[in-house]
């Protein structure tokens, strides 16, 4: 698929997701724009301003159109809870989430690729088997439980603060991807090692180190990049859970609180920003994969 087509897809998906959220927020119990915001200081003026901006009484598509136009100029309205501009909330929250998710993505790949290669090529069958089983178990541990258990042990030992620190959230977002990608890398490396090219190289009498470097690794190392496009959106979803458990003020926490308090402008703004970040990172991942692996470009 060409890059232009991918960009068009991203735009269409963005429209579909924000439209869905918009329709959903209209179906919320009670009048979504009035009164149901709990525990907030939103006064009539804030709500009236939101009405004005979104065009109360007009058809749903018109209201969505207005919201979309305003969002394109980064005006997401004001929070029903504290009347601050939604944009300020988003800017504050996005930094933490991007930092955590980005660090987790880097750490995941930095650990998973060598580990997968090691598991595939190691002659120590017992050790490799144990590590492999460990990864299989890790893959079945839901992030929220992993985070709770980690929080429990760390708070009992008193080594690290369980709230506000970025270390634990990053670890919790790293291990599921590590399990997935290391096992994928292992399979890809095994496959490359069994290819006819490697057999021929061995028949020619090339040294084993050269075969590994030039024929196995070169073919296998780009394989886990195909998972990157799905990994990044997954990290954003997982951030909801870890931010809640470790009390990090990021996008996940912001969305979570806003949904609970029916803070419609914040829910809409956060969904739009998460959608655009997820779609763009997934697009970049695909383009990166195509750039590094000529076999994907066809």
């Amino acid at each position: 698929m060409t890059a232009a087509k991918r960009v068009l897809d991203v735009a269409l998906t963005f429209l579909a997701i924000t439209a869905l959220t918009f329709v959903l927020s209209r179906f919320a119990p009670g009048d979504p724009y009035v009164g149901d915001a709990q525990g907030g200081v939103a006064n009539d003026a804030t709500i009236a301003a939101w009405h004005e901006l979104r065009g109360q009484g007009e058809s749903l598509p018109t209201q969505y159109g207005r919201w979309l136009l305003a969002s394109l100029s980064l005006d997401f309205g004001r929070s029903f809870i504290d009347t601050r501009p939604v944009r300020e909330h988003l800017v504050e929250a996005l930094g933490s989430t991007l930092l955590i998710a980005g660090a987790a993505a880097l750490l995941t790949y930095a650990l998973a690729i060598p580990l997968g290669v090691y598991l595939a090529l190691s002659r120590k069958k017992l050790l490799a088997g144990v590590v492999d089983s460990g990864l299989f178990v890790l893959h079945g541990v839901p992030v929220f439980w992993g985070a709770l258990m980690l929080g429990l042990t760390v708070s009992a030992s008193g080594l690290l603060p369980t709230r506000g620190s970025f270390i634990l959230p990053v670890l919790c977002l790293t291990y599921p991807g590590l399990a997935r990608i290391a096992r994928y890398q292992k399979a890809a490396t095994r496959e490359a090692a069994a290819s006819p090219a490697v057999l021929l190289a061995r028949a020619k009498g090339l040294p084993e180190a050269l075969i590994t470097r030039r024929y196995i690794l070169r073919a296998a190392l780009t394989a886990p990049l195909s998972l990157l496009a799905a990994e990044l959106p997954w990290l954003l979803g997982g951030s909801v859970v870890v931010e809640r458990i470790f009390t990090v003020r990021g996008m996940g926490m912001l969305t979570f609180d806003a949904i609970l308090r029916r803070d419609v402008p914040v829910v809409m703004g956060a969904t739009a920003v998460v959608a655009i970040v997820a779609l763009l990172s997934s697009l970049v991942a695909d383009l990166l994969h195509a750039r590094l692996d000529p076999r994907v470009r066809a």
């Binding site: 269409l12 959903l24 919320a28 439980w145 258990m149 929080g151 496009a229 859970v241 809640r244």
Partner: protein, 278 residues
């Protein structure tokens, strides 16, 4: 060997789910003398395990073990329900994509790519948070309705491969209708793949349900669920009895499903490496 262990674990949980009402009730003659919704006013909320409550109590002073036993019901209901929905949708979309007209293939491929490129967990939260009285059916619908794209991809690729095989061409040449060909010559070949997808699907759906219930956006609080039990631990980080037992229960079931899926067929590697649950 490991496969037998997995089957034994799943059967054991299934038996517990079926017999939940006999195992734990407050009408006497039960292994655990508490019903899942009995409030014990004589203890403090989130009290640690003791002689009366073997696994302690939760935030609403209900017995953790009784809720764990009854939670197995919900886990199976949601796990199987959502996995069946996922397999059904994945099969339908994959077949339509692989055997149908090209425009339909393009449309469906785009749809599943879009779902894969988006953190579905966010949408699930929004849906669960916004719908007036979200019940168990909605959890099944949200999980099953968003998990099908990886399977649809595999079904599509396999259908396209089968389409060029001689036995399919022969059937078409003899005038067989598309529906007949798909039912008679394509679907039977997909069965092993579907079995693998179902096994992994139950595991994944169970994890997602627990995550949603943990956040408070899953099944209603009145329904006993493993994820809901652990919700109390978010406020009480030291309350290990709310986390350890329900979490191990969840882990044992998810691992058993994954082992079964991995041992069932060759398509498993790729299915497993697609994303799991948060």
């Amino acid at each position: 060997m490991i496969r037998k262990v997995a089957i034994a674990v799943i059967s054991a949980w299934l038996a517990i789910a079926v017999l939940a009402d006999v195992l734990a009730n407050d009408r006497g003659h039960a292994v655990v003398g508490w019903a899942p919704d009995t409030v014990d006013k004589s203890v403090t909320p989130v009290s640690p395990p003791d002689g009366a409550h073997w696994l302690g109590t939760d935030t609403a002073r209900r017995d953790v073990l009784a809720r764990l036993i009854h939670g197995a019901r919900l886990t199976f209901a949601v796990g199987f329900g959502a996995a069946l929905l996922m397999v059904g949708l994945g099969l339908a979309v994959g077949l339509a994509s692989g055997y149908g007209p090209r425009w339909l293939d393009r449309l469906l491929t785009r749809l599943s790519d879009a779902i894969l490129a988006f953190p579905i967990f966010f949408v699930a939260l929004a849906v669960m948070g916004v719908v007036p009285h979200p019940g168990t059916e909605l959890v099944v619908l949200v999980i099953g309705g968003s998990a099908w794209p990886p399977l649809a991809r595999l079904v599509r690729a396999e259908t396209k491969r089968l389409k060029t095989q001689d036995f399919v061409r022969a059937a078409e040449a003899m005038g067989a209708s598309p529906v007949y060909v798909v039912r008679r010559h394509v679907v039977p070949h997909l069965m092993p793949m579907l079995a693998v997808a179902l096994a992994f699907g139950v595991g994944t759906a169970t994890m997602v349900e627990a995550s949603l219930s943990f956040l408070g956006f899953g099944v209603p609080d009145a329904v006993a669920s493993w994820g809901g039990l652990m919700r109390g631990a978010a406020q009480h980080l030291g309350a290990w009895w709310l986390i350890v037992a329900p979490g191990l229960a969840l882990l044992s079931l998810v691992l058993a499903c994954n082992v079964l899926g991995e041992r069932l067929g060759p398509a498993s590697g790729r299915l497993l490496s697609d994303r799991g649950a948060p």
